[in-house]
Every structure is written in structure tokens, then in C-alpha cells.
Amino acid sequence: MTGLTVAEGKKSRGIKSHSLERAERRMGLLFAIPSFIGYSLFVALPMLFVFVLSVFKMDLMSNSISFEGLSYFHKLMNDDDFWKAFTNTFKYLIIYVPLTLLLGLVMALILNSRVYMRGMIRAFFIIPYITTYIATLVVWNVFLHPTEGPVNSLLTSWGLNPPHYMVDTKWALPILAIIGSWKDVGFHCLLFLAALQGVPKDLYEASSIDGANGWARFRHITLPLISPTSFFLLLITIIGGLQAFYQMALLTKGGPAFSTTTLTYHIYRTAFEYYDFSYASAVGVVLFFITLVFVLINWFGQKKWVFYQ
């Protein structure tokens, strides 16, 4: 008899918490409704629409629509401008990604070492990251003025023959990538710093007893232990690099001679200067798949070098 009542008591408590859970689940769905609407309107539908737009011809003036199949992708494959933009995007990545990661790591190592005035040095490192991007680009524009800017007048006074940066087809894209790094590296520095501070001190102590020198310790303890952060940052940096746009829009307008037209700038120009939204969408679809490929490579490549504790 007693056994039964205990069992019943348990059961009724079970029912009570179960019904509470059910009520919470029902309300959970209700709480999630705004996000369903928001996500559909601002993420899912636009994405879908970009794919649709890339196979239809849409005339914004007459509001007419006609099916074009893959003709925009054919056009794109035979378009020299597209291939230039494609190559430029990768050139940008090749400079921007390693530079930002390396610089961020070095800066984090500096902040993690035993120095005075760490707060001030840290502020110097992060200030470009938090300042208004367009404003700093206006500054760079004058700072790197090819003939009269402070950088080049200094270099010239030393008897050097400095490049003309943004108006030189060879230099423009690398300079934009370096400015992009300068702007973003503060974020990388902070994340690396957080990771470095998460490395247990006793591991270093143990290794110094074993006689490991500074480099060996960095190579075999620090690097593996911060690899999850490195992985995350690599992914973020590639995605960010693929989307670089501000420097081109403000400093070079994709020039000189197309040398800084990346895929994002190509999309902008075709859509908002030529109003060819379908062609721009086709380029956008390509950009989407490039991003996807990078994400997948990273995702499956991480097993080789990312070390989770």
C-alpha cells in the first residue's frame, strides 16, 4: 500500500512538471514567432530571391520579368571583368588573411608579456578597430597622398622613390588589404589575448622544468592550446575578407584600371550603377558558393590542426 502511494506521489509530481514543461514549450514557440518572421523576411527570402533573380531578367523601369535560365552565368563566365574581380578577391585574401592573423597574434603576445602600461598599449592597438571606418579611410586617403602626403614626403626626403599607392595598379590592392588589416586587427588581437590568458600557467612551468626553450614552448604548448581561437578567427577573417568593400568604395572606386574591383565591388557596380540586378545576383550566387567552399574546407580541415581540450 505504502509503495503505491509513494509511486503515485512521484507520478503526480511528474505530471505537474511535465505540464509545466509543455506550457513552456508552447510559450517557447510563441516567443520564437517574431524570429520566424524576421528570419524569413530578412535572411531566408532575400537569399532565395537572389537565386531566383539570377535566372530571371528583371527590368526595374518597366517592372517586367522574363525567364533567362543560366544565361547570366554563361555571360559571367565569358566576362573578363568578372574574372578580374574573381582574381582580385583572392589576391586580397592572400594578403589580408595571413597579415591580420599574424599581426593579431603578435600584438596579443605583446599584451600578454610582462610590460608596463599595458592598458595604454592595448588601447593603441584597438583604436583603429573601434573608430568609424569611413572616417579613417578619408584620413588614409590624404595620409598616403601620392605626391604630397606625409608618408611620401618623408620617404622622398630620405632620397627614396616611394610608390604612388592608390593610383598605382600594382600597389592599390595590397595597400587596401593592408588598410583592411590595420582596421580589423584589434579584434583579432583581443580574441588571441583571451585565448592566451586561458592557457594554464602550470603547463609552462612544467615544460621549463623539462628544459623547453621559449620557441619550443610556444610551438608545442601555446599554439595547440589556442588553436580553437585560431580556427574561429581564420574562418571569420576569410569571410570578412571576401566581403571587403569599404576601401574600394571610398578610396579607389574599383580602380585604377579595375585593379581593386573585387567581387563585392563588382556586385555593387552592376546592381547600383548599371541597375543590372540579375547579373549582380549571378555574381552574388558565385560569391555565396565561394564562401561555402571556404567554410567547408575549414570545417573539415580543422580536425588536422585544431586541438580541443
Binding site: 513552456e24 514549450r25 517557447g28 516567443f31 520564437a32 517574431p34 524570429s35 524576421g38 528570419y39 530578412f42 535572411v43 527570402l45 532575400p46 537569399m47 528583371m58 605583446i110 608579456s113 610590460v115 602600461m117 592598458g119 595604454m120 598599449i121 588601447a123 593603441f124 592597438f125 584597438i126 583604436i127 583603429p128 573601434i130 573608430t131 568609424t132 571606418y133 569611413i134 572616417a135 579613417t136 578619408v138 584620413v139 588614409w140 586617403n141 590624404v142 595620409f143 579584434f187 583571451a194 586561458g198 581561437t229 574561429f232 569571410i239 566581403q243 568593400f245 569599404y246 568604395a249 571610398l250 563585392t264 555593387y268 546592381a271 540586378f277 552574388g284 555565396f288 564562401t291 567554410v295
Partner: protein, 269 residues
Amino acid sequence: MRVFLTIVYSLVGLVFVTPLIWMLSTSFKYENQVFEKPFVFVHWEDINFGNYMYLLTESPVVTWLSNSLIVVIVSVLFRLLFAAVTGYAFGYLKFKYSNTIFLIYLAALFIPYQLSLLPQFIAFRYIGFLDTLWALIVPNIVDILSIFLMRQFFLTFPRDFIHAAYMEGSGVVRSFFRIALPLAQAPMLTLGILSFFMIWDQYYQPLIFLKSPEMFTLPLGIHSFQTQFGHEYAKQMALACIAIIPVLVTFLILQKRFVESIFTTGIKG
């Protein structure tokens, strides 16, 4: 050694912000002094406040500033509320398939934001959002990263607090607003700071959505000013200072908090 390294690193840091120091110095000069040789940091005997005076009284800078502030404040407030409600749904309440749906949400972080702007432009053209601040505010409300951060916070939210509210007769909605939301102040402040910096910086959206100068936000205003006054560099530098100073002051006041917020978001990300 330690002192020596401190000096070296400080100099490295100083070199890093040289363009910004040069900006500040140039904003107080006359146009014919911008590229002067030899370089003078400040002409103490004749500091020129004229650039700032011109910008604040004879150009639309104040309008641009207030447009920027309106966009940032309204966007951030709605974004925070939206992220908190959604985060509570996916982190605390949960429902059937909520985790799967959330993964689909997260996948959006990998989509280049430029893509969704094409259809947004077409849609806004139809509903008449073009050339209004709504075109900037409304898309900013839905932010996947913010939702993610709020969900992470509510995942570990103590259930006892909410259950105590239930005992006192509060429903789910009431306990959310009375208990959960006030206790989420810390992550929401973090999110608010991050969003402030991000939205203040936005340039692509105003570039394509706005046409009339009186609707411009500050970044677009700076761009148009640069196009219009191509060779008046000292004024451009003063304008850059006006854009940077609000965020710089905010940053310096909240530096500790800001660094911590990047730490936590980064670690959780």
C-alpha cells in the same frame, strides 16, 4: 629590459595610430598648412578652429550626426528586445526542433550580407522605404549574432528564479519581463555596446538606400563631403574627428567593459 620593451611596444602602438594623430593635428590647421614642410604638430600661436566652426554651422553635419544617432539608438533598442525574446525562446523555454531551427539561423552568419541587400533594395523600392531611415533601421533589428549571444546567456539561466515567479502566479510572459529581462542586463549592455559600434560604422546600406543629403548618416555624409570638397583636406580631417570622437570617448570610458565583452563573445563564439 622590462622598461625597454615597454618603450618599444608603446612606440609600435603609437606608429599604429599615427594616421589618427595626424588627423587630429591637421584638423586644427589651415588648408595651406596641411602638407607644410617641415611638419609642425600644432601651431600654438594660431590654432585654427575654423574647420570645426564651418562644419557645425554651414554644413549639414549636425543633421548627419542626428540621423546617425537616431538610426543607432532605435536599431539597438529594437535589436536588444528582439534578441532577448528570441534568445529566451531558444535558450530557456525551448520547443520541438528548436535546436535544429537554431542551427539554420546560425548558418546565416556565413552568408555575405551584400547579397540580401539586392532584394532588400527592390522590396524597399516597392514599399517606399528608400531614402528614409527605416531602410536602415528595420533590417538591423534582426541580427543573428545578437540572438546567438542572448541564447547562450539564457541556456545557463537559473531555472529556480523563473519557477519561483511561477509559484507566485506569474505566467511565462510576465516572468520573462519581470525576472529574466532585468537579470539579462549585463549581456544586453555588452550587446548594446557592440551593436552601437557596428551600426555607427555602416556605410553600404546608406550608400544604396539614401539619396537626399538631409537623410544621410555620418559615414555617407563623410563620403559625399569628400567627393564635394576633394582638396579641402583640413576640413575633411575635422569631419573625420567629429565622426570618431563620439565612439572614441565611448570606447575609452567603457574600455574595460568593451574588452571583457569581446573576450566573452569570442570565447563563446
